[in-house]
C-alpha cells in the first residue's frame, strides 16, 4: 500500500493509481522484454560452429587464402604448396609431381593426408596423390589449409607428416557466371566456366574446366621430354538448408584426361636385339579418370551440440597400355618357372651372369634348357616379339564418417567420431587381381580451457585395419595464451601409416598379349621377371615434438608463427620397389629437426607481404632419403594494389639443394579489372621463371625449360 509522501510540496496520488499500485506485482524481468526481444533472431555462430583463434591451435597451420591463390598465377595446386614452409614440391615431369613435407624420397610421396572437402584423395591401392588428376579446379578452391605435423586424430589415416586440406568454395558464396581462359607458351590452353543458382533454401554451383600444356621441354640428357597433358573436369556442388537445424551439402566431381609418358621400357637383352621402328610404341601415354561423390549432412541438436555425417564414394581409373618388345626367350615358360623358384640372391645372379650358384636339381635343369636356347644365337641378334603390356588399375573407395561436436561448457569442447572405410584395388599387373582393405576408426579430442590463459588439448585415434591390425595414435598439446592473440604451444603427437595395398600385397608381373610374332604358338605370355611382396610389412610410426609461438599484432596488421620441431619416423619403408627385387622392409628410419617461420603482414592498405622459411636437418638411414631435405628453403611474396583496379604480385621461392646449386623460382603477375555495366572483366599476365639453370630435385627436367608466360582473361556477370 502506497504511503502518502509528505516530502514534496504537492503529492496526492490519485485514487485510480493507488488501486493499480495495489494490484502491481512488479516483476522487473517481465518489462525487460519490452525493449529487448531477441526471440526471433537465430543463433548463427554457435559454440560448435566457432573456430579456434590461431594462437590456440594445437599445431602449425598454414592457410593459403584466395587472394594468394589468385596472386600466385598458379595453374597447379602443387605450385601453391611451395608457399608452405617445409613443403618439398618436386616435379618428376609436368604431369607427375610429388609433394613431401620435410623430406623422404620423392619417389615415395605417400606420407601426407590430402583431403578435398573432407574426402581423402590419396589412391586406394597405391597411396600416392596424383595431383594433376585431382577432380578439382584451382578456380573452385576457396582456401588450402595445411596442418604441418602428424595429426591422425583429426584427419584420419595417412596423416603421418602432415595434412593438406583443400576447401572448395561453398555454393552460397558463388554468384552468377564466370568464364575464364589461360593462353600461353608451352601449349598452355586452359578454360574454366562456372554458373551458380540460388533459391530460398538451395544453392548450387556447376563448374566445367579443362587444362592443356606441353610440360617441360627437355630431359636432363637434352632429349625431348614428352610430358604433356590434357584434361577436363566437372564439378557440381550444392547445399540445401532443409530446416533451421539440418543442412545437406553434396558434390559430384569428375576428371578425365591423358598424360604423356615416354616409353621407357628397355629390355635386359637390349644389346642383343634388333628392333625395327613401328614394332613398338614410342609412347606409353596414360588415361586417367577420377570420379568422386560426397554428401555431408549436418544437424544442430542445440546450440551446444552438433552432429555431422559424411559419406564419400570415389573411383580411380588409370589405363596405360603400350606395345613393347623383348627377346622371345624372356617369355619362355622355363625361364618363368626358374625365376619363380629362385631366391632373391639367385635372381640377381641370374640377371647378371645368366647362371646361379647353388642351384637345386630343378633349377639346374631349367638353367640348362634356357642356356641351350640362348647359345643358338651366340653371334646373331636374339629373336624378339612385340606385344601389348599394360599398367592398368582401377581403384575404389567408400567411406563414411560420423562426427559429434559437443560444447560441454564454455571452457570444454569435445569432438568425437567414428568412421569406416573400404578400399579396393584391381590390377592385373600390380596385384594380379583384386585386393581389398577395410578400416574402422574411432577418435576423440578435447579442448579444455583450464584458465583464461592455459589451454589443454588432446586426443587419440584408434584404428582397426583388416590388413594391419590395431593401432592407437595419441596427441597432446598445451597452449599458453598471453592474450587471445598471442600464444605459446608445446605438443607431442604420434601417428602411424599403414603400408598400402601395393607395398604389402603386390604381385607384380607383366602379362603380354597380342605377341607378334607368336611365341611357341601363343600370342599371350608372361614376362619372366616378376616380384611379390612378402606381406610382412608393418606400420610406419612417427613421434613428433613441437614448440611454437603464434601471434597477431593488430596495430601492425601482422601475424607470425614460429616453431621448432623434431620428428622421428621409425619402421620406415624406404626402399623403392623394383620389378627385379621388391625388397620392401621396415628397416629404415629418419629423423628431422629444425625450425619454420611464417609471417603475413598487411604493410599498407595496398601492400601485403608474406614470408615463409624452413630450416630442416635430416638424418636418414636409407640412401634414397638422404640429401633430400633442403637445409634452407623459403618464399617471399609481395602483393600490391596500384589503385584503379590494377594489381600486381611478385613471388620468389628458393631452396638450397644438397649437392646441387640453389633452386630459385620467381613468379610475376599483373592484373587489371575492368567494370563494364553488370560485368567484370579481368585481364592478367603471368610470368614464371627459374632464375638459375638448375633442375628441381634429382629428377628428369632440365634447366629452365619450365619457364612459361601466359595470359588470362576472365569475365564475370
Amino acid at each position: 500500500m502506497q504511503q502518502i509522501q509528505t516530502k514534496r510540496a504537492y503529492l496526492q496520488p490519485s485514487i485510480v493509481l493507488t488501486s493499480l499500485l495495489v494490484m502491481a506485482t512488479a516483476e522487473s524481468g517481465y518489462a525487460d522484454d519490452l525493449f529487448f526481444s531477441d526471440q526471433a533472431i537465430p543463433e548463427v555462430l554457435t559454440a560448435t560452429h566457432l573456430y579456434q583463434p590461431p594462437a590456440a591451435v594445437p599445431g602449425s597451420v598454414t592457410i593459403i587464402d584466395q587472394q594468394l591463390i589468385n596472386a600466385s598465377g598458379a595453374r597447379n595446386i602443387t605450385d601453391l604448396l611451395r608457399l608452405v614452409p617445409g613443403m618439398l614440391v618436386v616435379p618428376d615431369s609436368s604431369n607427375l609431381t610429388t609433394v613431401n613435407y620435410h623430406g623422404t624420397s620423392p619417389g615415395q610421396a605417400r606420407r601426407l593426408q590430402v583431403l578435398i572437402d573432407g574426402r581423402s584423395v590419396y589412391r586406394a591401392g597405391f597411396a600416392q596423390v596424383d595431383w594433376s588428376d585431382l577432380p578439382v579446379a584451382l578456380e573452385d578452391i576457396q582456401r588450402i589449409e595445411v596442418f604441418r605435423g602428424p595429426n591422425t586424430v583429426s584427419y584420419g589415416a595417412n596423416a603421418l607428416l602432415g595434412v593438406i586440406n583443400i576447401i572448395t568454395t561453398p555454393a552460397k558464396d558463388v554468384h552468377g557466371t564466370l568464364l575464364k581462359t589461360n593462353l600461353g607458351q608451352n601449349g598452355i590452353r586452359d578454360w574454366y566456366a562456372r554458373q551458380a543458382w540460388h533459391s530460398d533454401r538451395t544453392d548450387m554451383r556447376l563448374s566445367l574446366s579443362g587444362l592443356t600444356d606441353n610440360g617441360f621441354d627437355k630431359r636432363r640428357d637434352g632429349s625431348d621430354f614428352r610430358d604433356s597433358r590434357r584434361l577436363s573436369r566437372f564439378n557440381l556442388r550444392a547445399n540445401h538448408q532443409l530446416d533451421e537445424r539440418n543442412n545437406i551439402d553434396w558434390q559430384l566431381a569428375f576428371k578425365e584426361g591423358s598424360n604423356q609418358v615416354n616409353n621407357n621400357y628397355s629390355s635386359i637383352f637390349a644389346k642383343k636385339l634388333q628392333l625395327k621402328p613401328g614394332e613398338y610404341d614410342n609412347n606409353s601415354d596414360g588415361q586417367a579418370k577420377d570420379y568422386a561423390g560426397s554428401l555431408r549432412w549436418t544437424t544442430a541438436v542445440n546450440s551446444q551440440h552438433s552432429i555431422s555425417l559424411q559419406a564419400n564414394a570415389q573411383q580411380w581409373e588409370r589405363l596405360r597400355e603400350w606395345r613393347a618388345c623383348d627377346a622371345q626367350i624372356s617369355f619362355e615358360p622355363d625361364l618363368n618357372e626358374l625365376w619363380q623358384i629362385s631366391s632373391a640372391e639367385q635372381r640377381k645372379e641370374l640377371l647378371k651372369t645368366q647362371s646361379m650358384s647353388k642351384p637345386n636339381a630343378r633349377q639346374q635343369e631349367l638353367t640348362n634348357n634356357i642356356k641351350n636356347i640362348y647359345i643358338k644365337y651366340a653371334d646373331q641378334p636374339l629373336p624378339h616379339s612385340c606385344g601389348l603390356i599394360n599398367e592398368n588399375s582401377r581403384e575404389l573407395r567408400y567411406d563414411i564418417e560420423l562426427q559429434d561436436t559437443y560444447s560441454v561448457s564454455d571452457s570444454l569442447r569435445l569432438i568425437s567420431g567414428l568412421s569406416y572405410r573400404y578400399d579396393q584395388a584391381r590390377s592385373r599387373t600390380f596385384l594380379n587381381g583384386r585386393q581389398r582393405k577395410d578400416i574402422m576408426r574411432g577418435f576423440s579430442q578435447f579442448e579444455w580451457y583450464l584458465t583464461d590463459h592455459w589451454l589443454l588439448q588432446g586426443g587419440g585415434m584408434f584404428e582397426h585395419s583388416s590388413s594391419n591390425g590395431n593401432s592407437f595414435s595419441p596427441r597432446l598439446a598445451a597452449n599458453y595464451m598471453f592474450s587471445p592473440a598471442h600464444g605459446l604451444r608445446a605438443l607431442y603427437s604420434e601417428a602411424v601409416r599403414s603400408p598400402d595395398m601395393f607395398e604389402n600385397r603386390a604381385d607384380w608381373r607383366y602379362k603380354v598379349r597380342d605377341l607378334r610374332p607368336t611365341v611357341n604358338g601363343n600370342s599371350a605370355a608372361d614376362f619372366f621377371i616378376s616380384s611379390k611382396s612378402n606381406g610382412q610389412l608393418k606400420q610406419e610410426k612417427i613421434k613428433a615434438y613441437e614448440l611454437g609461438y603464434n601471434g597477431h599484432f593488430a596495430r601492425q596488421r601482422a601475424s607470425i608463427d614460429i616453431k621448432v620441431f623434431e620428428e622421428k619416423i621409425s619402421r620406415m619403408i624406404s626402399h623403392s620397389p623394383r620389378l627385379e627385387s621388391f625388397n620392401l622392409n621396415n628397416n629404415d628410419q629418419i629423423k628431422f629437426y629444425g625450425s619454420e617461420l611464417e609471417a603475413n603482414w598487411q604493410a599498407t592498405h595496398n601492400d601485403r607481404l608474406r614470408l615463409s622459411y624452413a630450416y630442416i636437418k635430416e638424418r636418414a638411414s636409407h640412401k634414397l632419403d638422404q640429401k633430400v631435405s633442403p637445409p634452407h628453403s623459403g618464399s617471399i611474396s609481395w602483393l600490391h594494389n596500384w589503385g584503379s583496379h590494377w594489381n600486381a604480385s611478385l613471388m620468389y621461392f628458393a631452396a638450397q639443394q644438397p649437392d646441387q646449386k640453389d633452386l630459385q623460382l620467381a613468379t610475376l603477375r599483373l592484373e587489371k579489372m575492368l567494370f563494364i555495366p553488370n560485368k567484370r572483366l579481368t585481364v592478367a599476365g603471368t610470368v614464371q621463371k627459374k632464375l638459375n639453370n638448375q633442375p628441381i630435385g634429382r629428377t628428369n627436367n632440365k634447366d629452365n625449360s619450365h619457364d612459361s608466360v601466359y595470359a588470362t582473361v576472365q569475365l564475370e556477370f
Binding site: 504537492y10 526481444s37 531477441d38 533472431i41 566457432l50 583463434p53 587471445p484
Partner: protein, 320 residues
C-alpha cells in the same frame, strides 16, 4: 491539511459554517491544484501486454507527482483530442503513424521504440509537432567508441546501408573520421538482399575492410539475413558490432543497449522538465554493453567483462 484555530468569540454554528466554507474553499483550491498537478501522462504501445502495463507502473512509481496512466491502443486511437496539458508517451512506429495523423490536437509526445530509420521513413524533415524522439537504436558515436575499445587498431570500417538508411551515411562518416577510422560503404539497391548483386557487393566490401559496423535497419539486418552476413563476415575472421544487442546472441561481437531502468531514468528526466524544453531527439544516457564472449575468444579479441567495458565507455562518454 492544516487546521485553522478559530477565534473564540464566534458562536459554534458560525464556526462550523466557516470551517465548512474554508474546507470547501480548500477542497476547491486543492482540487484545482491537483487537476493541474494531475495532468495526464498517457502511455501507450503498439500491442497491449503485461510488460507494457508493468513498465507504466514502474515509471509511475518513480514519478508519484505525475499522473501516469496506461491506455490500450484501441482506446487511445478513438480519442480525437486531448486536454492541452496532456502528455503522451508512445511506443512503436505504428503509434507514430497515428500521432502524425492527429489533426485536432497536438499534445507533447515522447516517441519510444522507434529507430532513426523508422522515423525517417515517416518524417523526411524535422517537424515541430511537439514530437520528441528517444531513439531505440544505439547512438552511432557510442557504437564507434565500443568498436574502438574492443578493436583498438582497426582503421577500415565497413557499413552496409539500404535506401532507407543511406541518410545516416554522412553522419556516420563524420563520426568515424573523428574516431580516426575510414568508412567503406555498400548501399543496397531498392530490391535489398534479393538483388543478386548484393552478396557479391558484400563480399567485395568485406574483403577490403577489417570490421563491420551495423546500423539498425531491418532491410539490412533481420532474422533472415543475419545468418548470411555473419557467416561471410566471420569467414574473414572479422567481427560485427551492432546493430543492436538483440543480435549479439546470433554471433555479433558486441553492442551497447539500454535496459528498462535506463529508459525509465531517461523518461523521468524528461518528464520533470517543461515540455517546451524537450529536444527533437535524444538517445538515452544510461547504457550497458552486451558481449558475445565466445565469439570474442574465437576472434582473438581481448575479453572484457561487460561491466568493465561499460565503465570504460562511460568514462569516455559522448553525449549525442
Amino acid at each position: 491539511m492544516t487546521l485553522y484555530t478559530l477565534p473564540c468569540s464566534w458562536s459554534f454554528k458560525q464556526a462550523m459554517l466557516t470551517y465548512l466554507l474554508r474546507f470547501a474553499a480548500m477542497c476547491s483550491v486543492l482540487c484545482s491544484i491537483s487537476v493541474s498537478a494531475l495532468a495526464q501522462v498517457i502511455l501507450s504501445a503498439e500491442r497491449d501486454s503485461p510488460a507494457v502495463r508493468d513498465f507504466t507502473l514502474e515509471l509511475a512509481q518513480t514519478l508519484p507527482s505525475h499522473n501516469i496512466i496506461y491506455m490500450p491502443r484501441s482506446q487511445l486511437e478513438q480519442q480525437q483530442s486531448f486536454a492541452a496539458d496532456t502528455q503522451l508517451i508512445l511506443l512503436g512506429p505504428e503509434l507514430l503513424d497515428w500521432r502524425l495523423r492527429l489533426e485536432h490536437s497536438n499534445p507533447p509526445t515522447l516517441m519510444m521504440q522507434v529507430s532513426r530509420v523508422q522515423a525517417r521513413q515517416r518524417i523526411q524533415k524535422k517537424q515541430s509537432k511537439h514530437l520528441s524522439f528517444i531513439w531505440s537504436d544505439p547512438p552511432l558515436e557510442r557504437q564507434i567508441e565500443l568498436l574502438k575499445l574492443m578493436q583498438p587498431d582497426i582503421h577500415h570500417v565497413a557499413v552496409i546501408y539500404s535506401q532507407d538508411s543511406i541518410f545516416l551515411a554522412p553522419e556516420m562518416m563524420r563520426a568515424l573520421q573523428e574516431a580516426g577510422m575510414l568508412m567503406h560503404a555498400y548501399v543496397l539497391s531498392k530490391q535489398g538482399w534479393s538483388d543478386h548483386r548484393a552478396t557479391r557487393g558484400l563480399n567485395y566490401l568485406l574483403n577490403t575492410t577489417d570490421v563491420l559496423l551495423g546500423i539498425d535497419d531491418p532491410q539490412v539486418y533481420n532474422p533472415t539475413t543475419i545468418k548470411r552476413i555473419l557467416l561471410s563476415n566471420y569467414a574473414r575472421k572479422q567481427a560485427l558490432i551492432g546493430p543492436t544487442a538483440a543480435f549479439v546472441k546470433a554471433g555479433n561481437l558486441a553492442s551497447t543497449y539500454t535496459n528498462k531502468e535506463g529508459w525509465i531514468n531517461t523518461l523521468q528526466q524528461l518528464l520533470l522538465t517543461p515540455t517546451d524544453t524537450w529536444p527533437y531527439s535524444i538517445y538515452p544516457t544510461d547504457f550497458k554493453v552486451m558481449v558475445n564472449q565466445q565469439v570474442a575468444r574465437s576472434l582473438g579479441i581481448q575479453q572484457y567483462q561487460p561491466d568493465e567495458i561499460t565503465k570504460l565507455l562511460q568514462q569516455h562518454r559522448l553525449t549525442p
